[in-house]
């Protein structure tokens, strides 16, 4: 029925219209246009981006609305008319909402009323850009037109791609041939041969050695941060991903590691300029022990007590570090300065390239440990506790001890990350250890794929690396995190790279078969 296509189009249009209107109200339309500009290689982070990019941004939004509407109204018979109706109506409704909003603010601007008292991001420039540098009426009509046309066009295009066998089978042929090549015996022989594996690892090693030298200071800093967050993510993954115990105040262990290291190596306030490696070990140990002590009284309980207790612990640690009470011991709110950089055989290596190498080695070590633990007896016990603690106990698993071990190892990894963080910045203060760090780590583990090691890498790059590359969106980082988490929970609750269980029965069978001549 046509009315249902129209209906779906209108509904989709309302959603997209509200999204565009909110984007405008929070100033994201300017940022979006800037991002489009960046795609074309035009950097414009400080002034208003050119109109062309804004139009492209709006066309993209309209196209998205059109395609969504066309996809939602997809029923038999699938006709061009239906797709166009859905797309055009979605575009038109979203355009209408945007046009109304644009017209209101354009008129306010024209009458010299500044809405920034209430909506700080709605600057006159932003409104002008939203109205395509036209008068309120012309501008809003143009907005309506752009969104309608792009919605209809995109819906039509998606219909064409969906129904035309030429395009479809062409694409299928290509993917099919690629898949065949990948699965063919020749490729399998090459990829399964030990030389290929060595070659692959050599290549990775070469890249890891060469890249930090070519990156320069800024990118080394960014990827160093990513590396530190990978360590944090892998650590949290042990207790939360595998053992299934939510830890919200994970940053506390990060702080314990960072501060232990800082106080042992900085000239102030204790003047214990200890050797870097010794202090690193002690920092990791202190964090591990703090995890143990936190876990002792609560880990024999079930439920989310651990989440709440660690949350409290993290805040206590941060507030104590900040308080005057502790200034004598922890340098108070000013933080600890002049923390030692790493030394090796008496030679200090504090350049960003050298430090990047240190972080890479630390990430490799932690990843190695995580892989070894994952499918071991210990790792299986953790996962069993995660799935059904009661039954795990009855299969002979000491759940309390296992959880305590998991928390302690997690905390130790956070401590390592803290040490690296403090040493790299040569400074650490209470504000480095705000709850936001924990939230970031939880987000990256969830987005990447909970319980999965490559997922943690992906999550760390996506949540700590991408925002640096897309600096324009900095103000919207929290908003985007929130939206991302909700979308992930709705569409892919297991994360981008979900954890897979190992194949054990088959592999054992094939290996025993191969063993026979």
């Amino acid at each position: 029925m046509r009315s249902s296509a129209l209906d779906k189009g209108l509904r989709t249009g309302v959603i997209f219209g509200i999204v565009i209107a909110i984007m405008f109200l929070i100033g994201f339309t300017v940022t979006g246009a800037g991002l489009v500009g960046k795609l074309f290689g035009v950097s414009s982070s400080y002034n208003t981006p050119p109109l062309t990019f804004f139009v492209i941004f709006m066309v993209l939004m309209g196209a998205w609305a059109g395609i969504t509407a066309a996809a939602r109204s997809l029923t038999e018979p699938d006709t061009l008319k239906r797709a166009l109706t859905a797309g055009a109506s979605a575009g038109a409704v979203s355009g209408l909402i945007s046009a109304v909003v644009g017209f209101i603010f354009g008129t306010l601007n024209a009458n010299a009323i500044d809405p920034r008292t209430y909506l700080p991001m709605v600057s006159p420039e932003s409104t002008k850009l939203f109205l395509m540098n036209q008068s309120p009426l012309t501008g809003s009509l143009m907005l309506l037109g752009v969104l309608t046309v792009s919605g209809a066009a995109a819906a039509g295009l998606s219909f064409y791609l969906r129904t035309h066998d030429g395009v479809k089978s062409g694409a299928r042929n290509i993917t099919e041939s690629v898949r065949k090549t990948i699965r063919s015996e020749g490729v399998a022989r090459v990829t399964n041969s030990p030389y290929a594996r060595y070659g692959f690892w050599l290549l990775v090693a070469a890249l890891l050695i060469i890249l930090p030298r070519t990156w320069g200071g800024y990118w080394n800093y960014v990827f160093g941060t990513v590396g530190i967050y990978i360590i944090l993510g892998l650590g949290l993954n042990i207790i939360t991903g595998w053992a299934g115990q939510l830890v919200i105040g994970y940053v506390a262990f990060f702080a314990v590691g960072a501060y232990t290291f800082a106080l042992l190596t900085a000239p102030e306030p204790h003047n214990l300029t200890m050797n870097f490696w010794l202090a690193l070990g002690l920092g990791v140990l202190a964090a591990g022990i703090s995890g143990l002590l936190i876990g002792l009284p609560i880990l024999n309980l079930r439920g989310d007590y651990l989440a709440i207790v660690t949350l409290g612990f993290a805040e206590i640690v941060r507030i104590l570090l900040k308080s005057d009470l502790m200034t004598e011991y922890t340098a108070g709110p000013r933080g600890v300065r002049d923390i030692a950089g790493p030394t090796l055989f008496g030679r200090s290596f504090v350049s960003d390239v050298d430090f990047m190498y240190l972080i890479i080695i630390a990430v490799l070590v932690v990843t190695f440990i995580a892989y070894r633990l994952q499918n071991s007896r210990t790792g299986k016990a953790w996962y069993a506790i995660n799935l059904d603690e009661t039954v795990a106990r009855a299969t002979g698993i000491n759940a309390f001890a296992s959880k305590l071990l998991a928390l302690s190892l997690s905390a130790a990894m956070a401590g390592l990350a803290g040490v690296l963080f403090a040493s790299r910045n040569q400074f650490t203060g209470p504000d480095d250890h705000a709850l936001m760090v924990s939230i970031n780590v939880i987000c990256l583990v969830i987005v990447g794929g909970i319980g999965n090691i490559p997922g943690v890498f992906l999550g760390a790059f996506a949540l700590k690396g991408l925002p640096e590359i897309l600096r324009e969106t900095e103000n919207y980082r929290l908003l985007i995190f929130g939206v991302l988490l909700i979308v992930m929970m709705r569409l892919r609750p297991e994360g981008f790279l979900p954890a897979k269980r190992p194949v054990l029965e088959k592999s054992a069978q094939t290996s025993s078969k191969e063993a026979q001549p």
Binding site: R372, L373, S376, A384, T395, G396
Partner: protein, 274 residues
């Protein structure tokens, strides 16, 4: 004959309710013993006391002469008591073979340091664990399904997998909580044979809770009857069938056939849970 498990005057009280009231059950080694009784009679509570989930308020539980009441569950499992559950409780997101590997947990000793360093002990045990798990899967007839996620297995296979997991720890006593619940007559027969085989081939002592009287009368060496937490009768199947107290107090005086009433009860329960 050695005594495998013995409960001496065991009581478990929840608030004002005495779920298990001074119950004595003695199961000799290599026996198949059943506990029967209407719903809420305290059968599963007694199981939970034996496997360490509950600490009885009163009495003693002895496993080959060692007192085990009050011991943590994992230690009880370590000593050689394994169990299955009335409503199947597998590790659903693990594969079948992994469930069996986890079941072998008490038998292996490699710890996390071994795992990180990949010591000889770790590698040997991992290899053994997989071999043993494959053997057990074959034993319960799940060969080839080992790499399926446990929750994707059909119902009967899940029941058998649960038993395989329990067997993995090489227990000396196996507690089966309604092993044939929800099975059709054919599956029930297979399961009955299977349980008898466990005893005959592996020499495991078996204590089971069961509602299907055909099964109970067919395989039990001894039957204990519980009602409102109290043991009201004990003996060989024949003796229980003709025990007036069991029939009256527990099945109702107007019923002629034990089995008929039971099937009716079971059907009602089945309908109620629907």
């Amino acid at each position: 004959m050695t005594t495998c498990i013995e409960t001496k005057q065991v009581s478990k009280i929840f608030g004002g309710l005495t779920a298990v009231n001074t119950v004595d059950v003695v199961v000799p080694e290599h026996a198949i013993a059943s506990i029967i009784g209407p719903n809420g009679a305290g059968k599963t509570t007694l199981f939970n006391c034996i496997s360490g989930y509950y600490v009885p308020e009163q009495g003693q539980i002895e496993f080959f002469g060692n007192a085990i009441q009050g011991q943590p569950t994992y230690k009880v499992a370590d000593m050689g008591i394994a169990r299955t559950y009335q409503n199947i409780r597998l590790f659903g997101d693990m594969t079948a073979i992994e469930n069996v590997i986890v079941g072998q947990y008490p038998r292996f000793k490699a710890n996390w340091v071994d795992a990180i360093l990949s010591t000889r002990r770790e590698r040997d045990e991992a290899k053994q664990a997989i071999e043993e798990a494959r053997r057990l899967l074959k034993f319960v007839g799940l060969e080839g399904l080992g790499d399926t996620l446990a929750r994707n297995l059909p119902y009967g296979a899940q029941r058998r997998l649960e038993i395989a997991r329990a067997l993995a720890s090489k227990p000396r006593l196996l507690l089966l909580d309604e092993p044939t619940a929800g099975m059709n007559p054919q599956e029930t027969d297979t399961m009955t044979h299977f349980i008898r085989n466990l005893r005959d081939e592996l020499g495991i002592t078996i204590l089971l809770i069961e509602h299907d009287m055909r099964v109970v009368m067919g395989i039990s060496d001894q039957i204990s009857v519980l009602d409102y937490g109290t043991k009201i009768a004990e003996g060989k199947p024949k003796e229980i069938q003709s025990n007036q107290r069991v029939i009256e107090a527990y099945l109702g005086p107007d019923v002629t056939s034990l089995t008929k009433k039971y099937q009716l009860r079971k059907k009602q329960r089945h309908d109620a849970t629907r």
